[in-house]
């Protein structure tokens, strides 16, 4: 165990020092050491952090206004960034195909190719960075574009809206909706799981039956029914919170089970008895002794619950029953890719699937690593 933690030390002195370090390390430190060994979990943690950075900087990274529609740009294919010119000199640019209407067939044709240079920190639509600083600077854009020249790294959708910019903003919505839902269900789970374990008896029975009832219901039809009943007149923000509450209301049961189980098993431990004998109050025992010892379990359970929340929101919005346009989320982006005709015409619409899968995988690996690390004495 120790050798695995610190690498095998050859001298007895080194081993003793390692043992000393291990013995005095706090639980949090032990958990961190254990987690660090889990390479995949660490890498996933980094991916998750990057995605939240993307969410925080969504508008800065967007290249165009995500709500800006233009019929002439309908279903523009993705433009690849090219770094070198024809003569191999360095010149980052994209090839913009300008659409025009063929005078004889009246069909839109894209046949006028122009090279347009890329530039960093260009001016674009106005937004507020972190919701605080009004600015209009974006990371990437076209250098002095003509009005008809636009940058579409991932192509455009049916209404000519830029997919990359929409994806950036959708990431913010989908990732925060997961966080808010998980916070609500964490609150419910810890409260009801804790109450159930502390009071026992009738309270415990009621909460346990409630959990069993919720777990045996098919959740998606119920979610759909409740979400569809939200009034049409509600604002985007109201719908957003209503959806998070609906998702959280049916998802707290797992967390409640973890909390209750841990509470019950830890209550029998010697250190709790010792604290009781030393005259510690009930509150002090719960918050000073019990809670820290299963905090890491709660963190692990939370990071495993988050991907489920994200999938729920994505599924609901995908069906047209979750967030509603003009809100942008991963589910809403995937809604455009729902029918085979649209997919055949514009396969790049499936791009929204990539962040969904990446984030959910990353959260699962991260949660697995945290769960293993949560029990550093095991």
């Amino acid at each position: 165990m120790l050798a695995r933690l610190f690498g095998s030390s050859s001298s007895a002195e080194g081993a003793a020092a390692a043992e000393e370090r291990f013995a005095v390390a706090s639980q949090l430190k032990l958990t961190w050491w254990r987690f660090r060994r889990h390479r995949l979990a660490v890498a996933s943690g980094i991916v998750v952090i990057l995605f939240y950075l993307l969410a925080a900087l969504a508008d800065f990274l967007a290249t165009m206004d995500p709500h800006d529609t233009d019929a002439r740009r309908t279903y523009t294919p993705p433009q690849a960034i090219r770094f070198f010119d024809d003569d191999w000199s360095l010149r980052p640019h994209v090839v913009v195909l300008r659409a025009r209407r063929d005078p004889s067939t009246f069909r839109m044709v894209r046949d006028q190719a122009t090279k347009v240079d890329l530039a960093l920190f260009v001016e674009g639509y106005s937004y507020e960075l972190f919701g605080l600083f009004p600015t209009n600077v974006h990371l990437l854009g076209l250098k002095n574009p003509q009005p008809s020249e636009t940058l579409h790294l991932l192509g455009t959708d049916r209404l000519g809206r830029d997919l990359w910019s929409r994806l950036a903003v959708a990431t913010r919505v989908s990732l925060t909706i997961g966080l808010v839902s998980v916070a609500i269900s964490l609150f419910l789970g810890v409260l009801l799981g804790g109450v159930s374990a502390i009071y026992g008896g009738v309270v415990d029975t009621i909460v346990q039956r409630l959990i069993e009832i919720i777990r045996s219901m098919p959740t998606i039809p119920l979610w759909m029914g409740l979400a569809a009943a939200l009034p049409n007149t509600w604002s985007v923000m109201q719908i957003y919170f209503a959806i998070t509450v609906i998702i959280a209301l049916l998802a707290w049961t797992d967390l409640a089970r973890v909390v209750r189980g841990k509470f019950l098993s830890l209550r029998e431990e010697d250190f709790v008895t010792a604290a009781e004998l030393a005259g510690a109050s009930q509150m002090r025992i719960i918050f000073r002794h019990l809670l820290p010892s299963f905090l890491s379990h709660i963190i692990a359970a939370t990071s495993l619950a988050l991907p489920a929340m994200i999938i729920s929101e994505t599924s609901l919005s995908f069906l047209g029953l979750g967030l509603r346009p003009p809100a942008i989320s991963w589910g809403i982006l995937l809604q455009d890719a729902q029918n085979i005709e649209a997919l055949a015409l514009a396969p790049w619409l499936l791009a929204a699937a990539v962040p969904v899968i990446t984030v959910i995988l990353a959260f699962n690996f991260l949660g697995d690593g945290l769960r293993d690390a949560a029990d550093p004495y095991g």
Binding site: R215, G225, A229, Q338, I340, I360
Partner: protein
């Protein structure tokens, strides 16, 4: 044991009651009352409703009375088999739903069987050959299955088959059977279409079960009795299949209770992507057009079927596994 059966059945009844209240709440939630909307709908299509008929309708549904009275009236009619009228289709709800409910159950059940059929051998293989290439491969596939929401998987498979096979894989019947009456040819046609949606639906649950089975079996394989069996010269196949696998099966089998609701939920979503004739697309449409009696009935029936399915699986499990029975006594 009898006490357990009674308690378990009571819980199921309680669950069904909660689901029925929620379903009724879904019917009630949209603003405005049902009869006004129904009359407006009828007038729009040219039929007229007299004042007396309107009053009779209001009386029938108990409008204007408290929630619990309306609920009781609705429940009484539901128990008598009258689920109300679908506004959009202008036909009784039961007629609109028709075969779709049973097809939903069929797909969910097929997915359950596939989940077990895949997870059991793969789980055993992954545990016995821990850290082999095969184990890593299955773990990887399992994680992908876990991470990809099944509607997304359906979407990608539909795109790939359209792109490379030029075929539309949606639906549960060939076009010539879609409206035909039931016959053996139609059943055979259904059997040919069933595997794809069932496999898509099964994949998410399979990944979870493989991991559970692998972990359980790994715990068992380290037990001294396995070493003893091996030391006594039992053939490897018997050493593994005879005892550790059976011991590892218990938690595996009990997962069915939460797997079934999960599959029914999932089938609703993938049915929409693959345009299967199940209740899924009907539910979405009725919710969007606020055809609330249809929507409420579908939620209720799906809920009841799920609860009954879970109950049956629990009882069967108890019958099959003596350890559960002994624990209860």
């Amino acid at each position: 044991m009898l006490a357990f059966i009674v308690r378990r059945s009571l819980l199921a009844i309680l669950t069904i009651w909660v689901i029925s209240v929620l379903s009724f709440a879904i019917i009630q939630l949209p603003p405005g009352d049902f009869v006004t909307a129904y009359i407006a709908q009828l007038s729009a299509s040219g039929a007229s409703v007299s004042e007396a008929e309107a009053v009779a309708l209001r009386e029938l549904y108990g409008l204007g009375q408290p929630f619990y009275v309306q609920y009781a009236k609705w429940m009484a009619r539901v128990l008598a088999g009258d689920f109300g009228v679908s506004m959009e289709w202008n036909r009784p709800v039961t007629e609109v739903i028709g075969d779709r409910l049973w097809l939903t159950v069929l797909i969910s059940f097929a997915a359950l069987v596939i989940t077990w059929g895949l997870a059991l051998p793969i789980g055993i293989y992954s545990a016995v050959r821990q850290y082999s290439i095969g184990d890593y491969l299955f773990t990887l596939v399992g994680f992908v299955g876990l991470a990809v929401p099944n509607f997304l998987l359906a979407l990608v498979i539909m795109y790939l088959s359209f792109r490379f096979l030029g075929a539309n894989v949606g639906g549960l019947f060939s076009s010539e059977f879609e409206l035909a009456d039931w016959s053996w040819a139609k059943v055979w046609d259904l059997m040919k279409h069933l595997p794809l949606p069932a496999v898509i639906l099964a994949l998410g649950g399979t990944a979870q079960l493989i991991r559970i089975m692998r972990a359980n079996l790994l715990d068992e394989l380290r037990r001294p009795y396995v070493v003893t069996a091996r030391a006594k010269g039992l053939p490897e196949r018997r050493v593994i299949l005879k005892y550790p696998v059976r011991a590892a099966l218990n938690p595996f089998a009990s997962t069915v209770a939460y797997l079934f609701p999960y599959l029914v939920s999932g089938s609703v979503i993938i049915s929409i992507v693959l345009s299967l004739p199940t209740v899924g697309p009907l539910l979405v449409r009725s919710l969007i057009s606020q055809d609330m009696f249809l929507a409420g009935t579908i939620v209720l029936l799906l809920g009841v079927l799920t609860v009954v399915g879970t109950l049956i699986s629990d009882l069967v499990l108890m019958w099959v596994d003596p350890r559960i029975r002994y624990q209860l006594d």
